[in-house]
């Protein structure tokens, strides 16, 4: 728990009602997802990605705005670089000492994806954020969480839902002190070949942090999209051409492989046409796909009982262009997906001049890449070596991107009805379009109040949640039914934002804590006599109780034993008793320094009642005149008469009674009590 408090805040962070959501990346942009949550003194980081368009330190999210060592929890939604790319750096190169979680599949793929990223990023070593060794050692710091499994870290409760998107992608529900926040990461509500649709949580979050990549776009139906794709591939190979599908190595590629493998097995006439998949990374990760089928949809899970759908029958792996015999129609899936360089670029350049060939762009392309350029169907293209080539092959675009579209997002929000929606992970324009569309949707609906936020990077959204605090009264304290005015005294136990109220004696019954007793024995040298000590003690405490010959008790709590020039004090430690003991100690010391033994020891444990009576009469005479009080009286009754009013005084319990005049009664009562107090020895009870 972070003990550090900001100097300017009055309330301790733990009691504050302020929830801060601050994007350190992915605020009005796509890439380097990193969102900070701060609530009740807890700090949580969601994702820690890099910007694919930037390199070195520039690609990092704005982590210099936070203190890494204050973060309690770091959650990674899925294995894409823009969500986990900066993780090894953050775990190894900063002072972060919280805990980090991701799903099993994400962790297994993360290892290989980043290792590949390190290999292909061709920047100087000193600019590299981390090395293979850092990545390897970061693995030990990452813990895994299964979908729906509830974890509790420092009082932060969280669990994961399936998000669709890619294998192992998770949405996190985070609950702090009763306030629930749902972070979707990247998600898709459309079930596909191997992944299930993102689940809809059955609890309503108070805040929804959602992606907005596709803004207000609406995707084509899955069946249409698939049949368009397979028809296109079939068409290209039928006309004797070569079909190139540039793909990103992991994620959507597996979906395309499943579609092609199924299509091929349904069309025996195609069996002579080879399908190649050229990615060593994907080959490495296939084992992961074959293993974590439990994170996939029901269809795959049922099929696994019969055979593993990820053992492809019609698809061969291609190590590289050297192993490729280009002899006739074929289908090749090659990375990278945007044909910046590498195998997909090489194949494209050698095939683009033949009109029989075709290329199918299957994913999201960034401005400035070759994939984006050819979508506008230019006459010629520039090769890597600078040569110009005519573009004759067919170019098609079919998006298989598994991000939510407007329809899905809108439906998702309609079901969850979160009072606050925070948009992240989307380009500025797309995001504001989505915000406007959602606002329009709820503008005429008075029953739903929804606030939409689209914060820029480093700008925090501030929300206030007046957390209601309830306590459970348990055990002997709760035996009596509660009713207004009932008084409760007990111990309040606070654990992870939960309060319980218990009687002290029940503590060990309901918690693992136990009550203890501390007994103190203090010895001090004392050379004087016992009576002197007793005298001084009685001056301090009034009543000295003799237990044995040389043992006495004062204040009904401190035992004093005099034994062979040593005085020993013994008491059960409580703040009050400690104070008494100190007073007793002072008395002992004082007795020690009295060098002359006083000759007179009044053993005055009882007060002199006669003396009191005399004093009382004298006082009353002074107050009300000589005649107000009878000169002689017997027993414990006395009366005062002033102006014909008579007040009776009971000396035993010091009660004054005057039926005619209340004010008079008060005056006499005060006088009597005060006198008694000044004459009587001090009382301790």
């Amino acid at each position: 728990m972070s003990a550090r408090k900001k100097p300017d805040s009055q309330v301790p962070a733990e009691e504050s009602d302020l929830l801060l959501i601050r994007p350190l990346g992915a605020g009005q942009e796509v890439g380097r997802s990193c969102i900070m949550l701060e609530f009740k003194g807890k700090k949580i980081m969601l994702d820690c990605g890099i910007h694919p368009g930037l390199s070195g330190m520039d690609a990092l999210p704005f982590v210099d705005l936070i203190e890494a060592d204050e973060i309690d929890l770091l959650l990674i939604s899925h294995f894409h670089l823009d969500h986990c790319g900066a993780l090894p750096w953050f775990l190894q190169k900063t002072s972060f000492k919280g805990r980090c979680f991701m799903t099993h599949a994400t962790k297994a793929i993360y290892r290989w994806l980043l290792s590949d990223y390190i290999k292909v990023s061709n920047i100087a070593t000193e600019q590299m954020l981390y090395t293979e060794a850092d990545l390897e050692s970061s693995m030990d710091k990452i813990e895994t969480i299964n979908f729906h499994e509830e974890k509790d870290v420092f009082g932060i409760k969280f669990w994961a839902y399936n998000a669709g998107h890619v294998l192992g992608a998770a949405m996190f529900m985070i609950e702090i002190a009763g306030v629930k926040i749902l972070y979707t990461g990247d998600f898709s509500r459309q079930e596909d070949r191997h992944l299930m649709a993102a689940e809809i949580p059955n609890v309503h979050p108070d805040v929804l942090i959602t992606e907005s990549t596709y803004g207000t776009h609406i995707h084509e139906k899955r069946e249409e999209r698939e049949s368009r794709f397979t028809a296109l591939v079939h068409d290209i190979v039928n006309r004797g051409g070569r079909c190139l599908i540039p793909v990103f190595a992991l994620g959507r590629a597996q979906e395309l492989l499943l579609i092609l493998d199924e299509y091929w097995s349904q069309h025996p006439e195609l069996h002579d046409i080879p399908i190649y998949y050229a990615s060593s990374l994907a080959k490495k990760c296939m084992a992961v796909y074959q293993t974590y089928v439990n994170a996939m949809n029901d269809k795959i899970r049922r099929q696994i009982a019969i055979n593993n759908p990820f053992v492809f029958r019609h698809i061969s792996n291609l190590k590289g262009i050297d192993h490729f015999e280009d002899i006739g129609p074929c289908v090749v899936m090659a990375s990278p997906g945007m044909m910046q360089s590498g195998l997909s670029r090489e194949l494209f350049e050698s095939w683009c001049t033949d009109s029989k060939n075709g290329v199918i762009i299957a994913g999201y392309c960034v401005e400035g890449t070759l994939a984006k350029t050819i979508l506008s169907e230019p006459e010629e293209i520039t090769t890597m070596s600078g040569q110009k080539l005519p573009l004759k092959m067919s170019v098609d675009y079919i998006s298989f991107s598994a991000h939510t579209d407007y329809q899905q997002t809108s439906e998702f929000i309609r079901i969850l009805k979160p009072p606050h929606v925070v948009l992240v992970h989307g380009e500025q324009n797309e995001m504001s379009r989505l915000k406007a569309a959602l606002q329009r949707e709820y503008e005429d609906d008075p029953s739903t109040k929804m606030e939409l936020h689209n914060p820029r990077n480093t700008v925090a959204v501030e929300l206030y949640f007046r957390g209601e605090k309830t306590a459970k009264v348990m055990g002997t304290l709760a035996m009596e039914k509660p009713r207004p005015g009932h008084k409760l005294s007990g111990i309040l136990v606070k654990r992870n934002f939960n309060y319980h109220m218990l009687a002290a004696c029940d503590l060990s019954k309901y918690t693992d804590m136990t009550m203890s007793q501390v007994v103190q024995r203090q010895s001090v040298h004392y050379s004087g006599a016992l009576p002197v000590l007793r005298l001084l003690l009685s001056q301090v405490s009034g009543n000295v109780e003799m237990l044995e010959e040389k043992k006495m008790r004062v204040f009904q709590s401190v035992d004093i034993t005099l034994d062979n020039k040593i005085v020993m004090l013994e008491w059960i430690a409580t703040p009050v008793n400690d104070m008494y003991a100190d007073a007793v100690l002072a008395a002992v010391m004082q007795a020690e320094i009295l060098d002359t033994t006083p000759s007179f020891f009044p053993i005055q444990s009882k007060m002199d009642r006669m003396h009191f009576k005399e004093c009382l009469i004298e006082m009353l005479q002074e107050m009300f005149g000589e005649d107000s009080v009878p000169k002689i009286f017997k027993g414990e009754k006395l009366y005062v008469t002033v102006d014909g009013k008579k007040a009776n005084i009971d000396l035993l319990n010091l009660e004054v009674c005057c039926e005619e005049d209340e004010a008079f009664q008060q005056i006499v009562q005060t006088a009597v009590t005060k006198l008694y107090q000044s004459l009587a020895p001090p009382r301790t009870d």
């Binding site: 439990n294 206030y464 007046r466 207004p484 136990v493």
Partner: protein, 745 residues
């Protein structure tokens, strides 16, 4: 406010019968496991049937028949109809267990207690969960949540936590294993703190385990010795639980080049071995951290076996060259391949039979454990054989008659029925084979892609297949084949004539009948029991329970001796009520718990002086209950009324109405209270604190002496600490440090 809690032990109490209990929390009845013993005890079922319609939920702990064996019968034949909860591996592997059990029984007798359809129907009812996933109960069980926690022992093995919010947390933990194994993590039982009720077994209470390494070595030596003397090793294991541990361990052993095992074969034999291994491969996330790490690091699936050959029948097994080690189900040897192999191999003194599990008393495996080998056993041998001669003719005649009859019927009926009839015949075929996929080839394709080139060990050379000889006669390769010398046949001459039948035994299409003969078998082979049960032993069990320190404890399943031993041990702890019901008994474990909820005002919370204690913060509170207008601060300010959840909202409102608010008591009304020191101090810990503050201290006769013997700290039982010393500055320093160790309220 108090929940009624009762446990009815239907089976598995004061004896070794399978666990089956009904836990009642108020009106909600939960069936905890429903095991069935190896011989399908009918008395137990009769008892359970009486309560079947009262059950609201079933929780399953492990996938073996001992914990869920009765489920298909209950669902299929008794009409159990409620939600059943289990983890994903328990669901998957449980199904494998039941398929294998059914098939094993079916191979030797007419088995009619349940069908494969009952198995499917029962498992379709299972709601699959992950560890630590909390599931709220509905209806009568409103307010109850159940959570599965890792238990070790078998994949997906579960300790169930049943929580009634704020009042009760009940832990049902049987057969757990706290130790890490090769493929599983240990249980996380110790992490639970002071549950109100623990239900656990005393099966291992008096049992002492040798160390794991010693057991591994014993197994290794046994295997090596037997194989070297040209004998076969039969290891009896279960279908899909403990077998994973053994299979993984043996395959790793075989991979070790120095082990000298490469020359021999290793096989896994049960009816569903292919599926079990496939499922194991896809459940890595349920296994040990170590396996998961190696998978993440090296990507080879630990259950992608290199040496273990998967077999589904005796015929397939006979193709595996001898000498060999065979892992065969079932562990009790009452049925299945383990029994068949036992009958074949036991008469050869070179062979070895290793039993890994103590099954129910009376089973063959248990008899062997108790009596050892080398005693004559009277065994009933049952098997399914093909009909022959007159019997076959009779059968065929009847079939024909039936067919004719049905044809006659068909003719009477409308056309529309024909298609139905077709459907029927289709489904009957499906029934016979079921969806149990038994792959014929034992080699599983290891690549992920089709290999794009054919690979030849030498220069490609195609041998033309000759279909017929020079005279035009068709060549049948079978005619030219040497008669397969059966390795088993050499071992056991008696069995030569049985051989043929066994090969055909699992062919269901041909008409068959079941026969039964009783014969005396003299066990010559070496018989050894090596514990691979994967359960915590008695000593650890006691330690774990002591640490858990439940308020109430119910001991079930275990011999009377071990139960009583455990009972006596647990009674020594203070504050624990221990029960040990016998079979059929109902234990009332209700405690008086009072509880209600109050709302805390901001003024109250901000005025609290919280002191840090162990894991929690504490404060003394003097307050009084008042009624407040709740409309203002009932909910977080941002929350708005949901239309959809109106019903819920209303329910919530009603609850809120009952909630009183707690306000601080005015200062003048506060009466003083006895100060409480909270924490239990250990002198050794305090010594470290002293050291940190550079105050010298030393232990002598249980007393901690500080500051050159001027101050002494003693600790009495029941948390009483005595601080003793002469007046000095150090005294106050030590006292201050001592006070710091407590939360003082």
């Amino acid at each position: 406010m108090t929940s009624i809690i009762k446990l009815h032990a239907i089976s598995g109490a004061m004896d070794e019968s399978p666990p089956c209990y009904i836990l009642q929390v108020d009106d909600f009845r939960i069936l905890l496991d429903c095991g069935w013993d190896e011989n399908f005890d009918q008395d137990f079922m009769k008892e359970l049937r009486r309560y079947i319609h009262q059950i609201d939920a079933v929780l399953l702990s492990y996938p073996d028949p001992l914990h869920l064996g009765a489920l298909p019968y209950l669902v299929g034949k008794c009409g159990l109809n409620c939600s059943i909860y289990a983890t994903i591996p328990v669901y998957k592997m449980g199904q494998m267990f039941m398929y294998d059990l059914y098939q094993s029984r079916h191979n030797m007798e007419e088995f009619e207690l349940f069908t494969l359809d009952d198995v499917d129907a029962a498992f379709d009812k299972i709601i699959q969960l992950k560890y630590n996933q909390s599931v709220p109960m509905k209806g009568k069980g409103y307010g109850l949540t159940v959570t599965p926690l890792p238990a070790g022992h078998m994949i997906g093995g579960t300790i169930w936590k049943i929580v009634k919010v704020g009042e009760e947390d009940i832990v049902y933990a049987v057969d757990f294993n706290h130790k890490k194994e090769r493929h599983l993590n240990g249980s996380e039982l110790e992490r639970l703190q002071r549950p109100s009720l623990v239900i656990t077994d005393a099966f291992n209470a008096t049992y002492k385990q040798t160390r794991r390494r010693a057991r591994d070595e014993k197994l290794m030596t046994n295997i090596l010795q037997t194989l070297r003397s040209n004998g076969n090793v039969l290891i009896t294991v279960d279908t899909a639980g403990r077998v994973l541990e053994l299979a993984h361990m043996l395959d790793q052993l075989w991979r070790n080049k120095d082990s000298g095992l490469l020359a021999y074969s290793l096989a896994l034999l049960n009816n569903v071995s292919y599926n079990v291994v496939e499922f194991a491969k896809s459940q890595i996330e349920w296994m040990s951290d170590k396996l998961m790490r190696t998978f993440e690091g090296a990507r080879n699936n630990p259950f992608q076996f290199k040496h273990l050959q998967l077999c589904h029948s005796i015929a397939e097994l006979s193709r595996v060259p001898s000498p060999k080690v065979v892992l065969a189900s079932t562990p009790d040897m009452e049925c299945g391949f383990s029994r068949e192999l036992f009958l074949q191999w036991s008469s050869n003194p070179h062979n070895s039979i290793i039993i890994t599990n103590r099954t129910s008393p009376g089973t063959l495996a248990r008899q062997l454990i108790e009596n050892g080998g080398n005693v004559p056993l009277n065994l009933e041998i049952r098997r399914r054989v093909r009909l022959e001669g007159a019997e076959l003719e009779e059968y065929q005649r009847k079939e024909r008659e039936n067919k004719e009859k049905s044809q006659e019927k068909n003719e009477d009926l409308d056309m529309s029925d024909e298609s139905e009839d077709e459907m029927d015949s289709l489904s009957s075929v499906a029934k016979g084979k079921h969806d149990l996929l038994v792959k014929a080839e034992t080699k599983v394709q290891t690549g992920f892609f089709k290999s794009n080139k054919k690979q030849y060990p030498m220069f490609p050379f195609f041998e033309e297949k000759v279909k017929f000889d020079e005279y035009g006669e068709i060549i049948r390769p079978e005619d030219y084949k040497m008669v397969d010398s059966n390795p088993e046949a050499e071992d056991n001459k008696e069995n030569v004539d049985l051989k043929e039948e066994e090969i055909t035994a699992d062919i269901t299409e041909v008409p068959t009948k079941c026969i039964s003969v009783t014969k005396t078998v003299r066990v010559m082979a070496q018989v050894q029991y090596i514990d691979f049960e994967g359960r915590s032993d008695g000593e650890s069990l006691q330690k774990i329970l002591e640490q858990l320190h439940p308020r109430r404890l119910i001991l079930v399943r275990g011999t009377p001796d071990s139960t009583h031993a455990m009972l006596n041990h647990c009674r020594q702890w203070n504050g624990v009520r221990v029960f040990a019901p016998s079979r059929g008994e109902v234990v009332d474990a209700t405690t008086e718990t009072y509880i209600y909820q109050v709302r805390l005002t901001d003024a109250l919370v901000s005025a609290l002086e919280l002191k840090k204690g162990k894991e929690a913060e504490l404060a003394w509170l003097d307050a009084q209950i008042v009624v407040r207008d709740m409309s203002k601060d009932a909910k977080p300010v941002t929350m708005d009324v949901d239309d959809i959840d109106k019903e819920e909202e209303e329910k919530g409102k009603m609850e809120i109405d009952q909630i009183y608010t707690l306000e601080p008591l005015p200062l003048n009304q506060v009466v003083g209270h006895q100060t409480a020191f909270i924490n239990e101090l250990k002198l050794s810990d305090f010594r470290q604190v002293l050291n940190k503050n550079s105050i010298p201290s030393e232990f002598s006769g249980g007393v901690l002496w500080c500051c050159n013997g001027t101050i002494a700290l003693r600790r009495h039982e029941a948390g009483r600490v005595i601080l003793e010393g002469c007046l000095s500055e150090d005294y106050y320093r030590v006292r201050e440090l001592l006070y710091d160790q407590y939360a003082i309220v």
